[in-house]
Structure formats: C-alpha cells, structure tokens
C-alpha cells in the first residue's frame, strides 16, 4: 500500500478543489493535488498515493518507475484494481 505510482496529468477537473484527471497505465481517475506546491500542468508526471499526488517527477523517472512496478506483477495489479474502483470527487 505504500507504493508511489507514476501518473500523467491528462485533464483539469476542479482547480479550486485541486482535482485533476490522471492516466496510470491506461487507467484514468481523478486525484487530488493539494499536497503539491502548485497544480501540475497538463502532461506533467506525478507520484500518486491513495488518491493524492505526492510529488512531481520527470518523465524519465516516471517511465522507469512504471517499468519497475509492472515487473512486480501482483502488487501493482492490485493497486490498479483499487484505483479503478476509485471515484474521488
């Protein structure tokens, strides 16, 4: 559960509440960005954890972390399943 998952910002949902839509290995869900210094721009990469963007990362780091997580198999699949069930507002 402590995995930080790389996600790319694909849409702004509600700037006031800090909500953006992200793409995680093809799963698109809303996450909260209030823990970042500023709302990340479209296309930016963030590490997400339990529905929150925790830090900004660059694309190299994002892709490399994703490859690593995919290599874990089951724990990453479970994380994606739980993300799929999420409807953060």
């Amino acid at each position: 559960m402590c995995l930080g998952i790389p996600a790319q910002v694909v849409a702004v949902v509600d700037p006031e509440l800090g909500l953006v839509k992200v793409d995680v290995s093809g799963v698109r869900r809303t996450v909260n960005t209030l823990l970042l210094e500023a709302q990340p721009p479209l296309g930016a990469w963030v590490l997400i954890h339990v529905g929150f963007a925790m830090s900004m990362i660059d694309e190299d780091e994002a892709l490399r972390t994703r490859t690593f997580l995919e290599s874990l198999g089951e724990p990453y699949d479970t994380e994606l399943d739980e993300l799929r069930s999420s409807r953060v507002q």
């Binding site: 559960m1 402590c2 210094e37 929150f52 925790m54 830090s55 690593f68 999420s86 409807r87 507002q89």
Partner: protein
C-alpha cells in the same frame, strides 16, 4: 517477456555487487536495516541478498504500516465496523489482519458493512452518498499517508459532512527508529532510509541517528539498483568512518520534504503521548491523533471504544521480526500455522510484511536449497 532494459539492469546490478564485495573489509560484518516494507519487498522479490557478500546482512525494520497495528486497535476497528449504523471503510490490506475474534473480513461475513476504498476521499464520498449512515475511515500509515487523511478531514470540515469520522492510527517513523536504536537486542551498522516517507518529512529528522548514534543513513529508492546503490553508499560511509545522512533517492526526495503535507498534518493532528506498536510495545510520541478542534470527526470521540491492550497470540513472533531480531523463517509458525491465507501475525498479511514477502517469493525453498547444497559440499 523480459525487456532489454531488464538485462541491462542485471548487468549494472552485477557490477554494483562486485563493487560492494570489493568494499568488504576482512573480518568485518555489516548489518544494515532496511526500514521500509517497500524495500523488504524489493529485496525478496529480486533476490538482492543473493547478490550481496555473506558479510553484508540486511535486517528488516518496522516500516510496514499494516504490520505495526496492535491487536487492541484492530479489535476496536472491528467493534466500530459491527455497529448497525456504520459503513466501515478501509484499505484492502487491513481486511485480513487478525484480531482477538477474527478479522474485518470475518466481521464482514457476519454482516458488518465493510468496504474497501482506494483513498480516504472515496470514504468521504461514500459519506456524502449515505447521509443516514455513519461512515468511518480506518486511517493507517506512516507520514506518507497521514497527509491524505489530513486533507480529507479539512474537506469534511469545510463541507460539514457530519456523518463522516476517522479512526486515526497514523504512526511516525522516527520514534520507532529511536526505540530500535535504544534496544539492547540489536546491533545495526547503518540504515537504508524509507523513500516515500522521506518525500514528506525530508532528511533533517534522521540527523540524530548520524549525530547521536554515530550510524550512517542512506535514504533510498525502491528499485533493485537503488537498494544496491544504497548498500554501496552505506559501506563506503562505514569504511570511511563517516556518519552522514545521504540521499540516494534525490530524484524524488527533497532535503526539506513536502511543506504542504507537513502543514496539513499539523493542522489536523497532534502527537499522542504514547501509542502501542505491534511487537514493539508502547513508544512515546510515536503516533498521531486528531486535534481537539476536529473532535466531531474523530471516531474515538464518537464511539465508546474498549481501547484495551490485547496481548499478541503466544505463537506470534512479529515483534522480533519487526525489530530485526529474528528473520521471518526463524519464527516457529512461519509457513506452517501462519501463512498469507491464514495469518497469525500481521507481518504475513501485507505484501510489504517481511514474512509475506519471504513466503511469496519462495525464498524459504531457495535458502534451504542453498544450505542443503552447502551441506552436501562438505566432504
């Protein structure tokens, strides 16, 4: 299918392993604690120990949030979940944690409304959707997760969602490390520091380890190469007689941490005088409770809880595993009475728990095989 990059990784790993072996000074042993369960997972999953010389031993630390929740708190969680008016929301990992009378999963089978959520914000949404029910979120985790609970609480307060409450079990990593450093059972030469916790707290909180205890710390990323590189950095510090806090994971962890996250925690939570950790006992100022201003959203204020100290099952040696005193396979019930399907202790529940990680990746067989092979080699 393996990617080209994976082969390249193996190559770099082998070279790093050679450099680590070259650092080992004759007659010296190096005991390094990986604090975080995420690292434990990587170490077993990728067989890192097989790459290291026998003189370098990795010892698992207390950094698995599921593992450290004591029986009494889990009993209280189940008591809340079994109330008729309650929808109890939790991360999936907590469902199978054993308590005095079964787990949350057993409570669910008996009819309790227990739901898995991905985020505390999902719990808050469920509260909005069910105004006639009490929705309780089972908050667990280190400083990585506490800020998310904090922001959710601020939202609940701003929107006046009155039927939402948090059962707060957030813990803080530094007091646990202090307890381990003060424990007479153990001699640790250096620490592989947790990556994601450090994105929140930064590097400063670890300085006392270097300054007062004269032990090096390297905050590390989660990939096999990260862990190997951190071992290399620790050995160099030890050989040089240096005790510093170094940052191997600078691509994500900043010196000052995440000020927004720290502010959100400070706004909603305060340190408890003391808190019980599974296997480690009571540790002063090691956990977070809600601030009095948020009492209306505090499950501990809203429901009368037993709040008892409940002893671990006799067979359970999780405390020794969490302190790194014994290795998972040295527990008497490991893999027999205690398995991921029917765990006796918490370390067998989460994939970040040392026992589950060891069990899942068949290391027992491999190690036995290795020991057997070594035994055969003796004429």
């Amino acid at each position: 299918m393996r990617h080209v990059s994976e082969y390249r990784t193996d190559d770099v790993a082998a070279r790093l392993a050679e450099r680590i072996a070259a650092l080992v000074e004759p007659g010296r042993r190096y005991q390094l604690m990986e604090v975080c369960g995420g690292h434990t997972h990587t170490i077993y999953r990728h067989g890192i120990e097989d790459l290291l010389p026998a003189e370098v031993e990795l010892v698992h630390g207390p950094g698995c949030p599921v593992c450290v929740i004591p029986m009494g708190r889990q009993d209280d969680a189940i008591a809340i979940a079994e109330r008729n008016e309650v929808i109890f929301t939790t991360f999936g990992d907590m469902l199978r944690v054993p308590a005095s009378h079964g787990s949350l999963l057993d409570a669910k089978a008996r009819g309790a409304d227990v739901r898995i959520v991905y985020s505390p914000l999902d719990a808050l949404r469920i509260a909005r959707e069910n105004p006639d029910r009490e929705v309780v979120f089972f908050a667990i985790g280190f400083e990585t997760t506490a800020p998310s609970t904090a922001v959710t609480l601020l939202r609940a307060r701003a929107e006046r969602v009155a039927n939402f409450a948090v059962f707060c079990n957030h813990v803080t990593i530094i007091p646990a490390l202090r307890a381990i450093l003060d424990s007479p059972d153990l001699r640790i030469d250096g620490f592989i520091g947790p990556g994601h916790v450090s994105t929140v707290i930064g590097l400063r909180p670890y300085r006392f380890i270097a300054r007062d205890h004269r032990k090096p710390v390297v905050v590390s990323g989660f990939e096999p190469l990260d862990v190997l590189q951190s071992v290399y950095m620790l050995l160099r510090q030890i050989n040089d007689g240096r005790c510093e806090v170094e940052n191997q994971y600078a691509r994500v962890v900043r010196e000052e941490g995440n000020p927004q996250a720290l502010r959100a925690i400070a706004e909603t939570m305060r340190l408890r005088t003391t808190f019980e950790w599974r296997g480690l006992g009571f540790i002063a100022q090691s956990a977070l409770g809600l601030r009095p201003e948020l009492a209306s959203w505090d499950a501990e204020e809203r429901f009368a809880l037993a709040a008892l100290r409940v002893a671990d099952p006799k067979a359970c040696q999780c405390g020794e595993v969490l302190k790194g005193v014994i290795r998972p396979w040295e527990c008497k019930v490991f893999g027999t009475a205690c398995t991921p399907e029917r765990p006796i202790g918490t370390c067998m529940v989460s994939s970040e728990g040392a026992c589950a990680a060891y069990y899942n990746y068949g290391r027992l067989g491999r190690r036995r095989g290795r020991v057997a092979a070594a035994a055969r080699a003796v004429p």
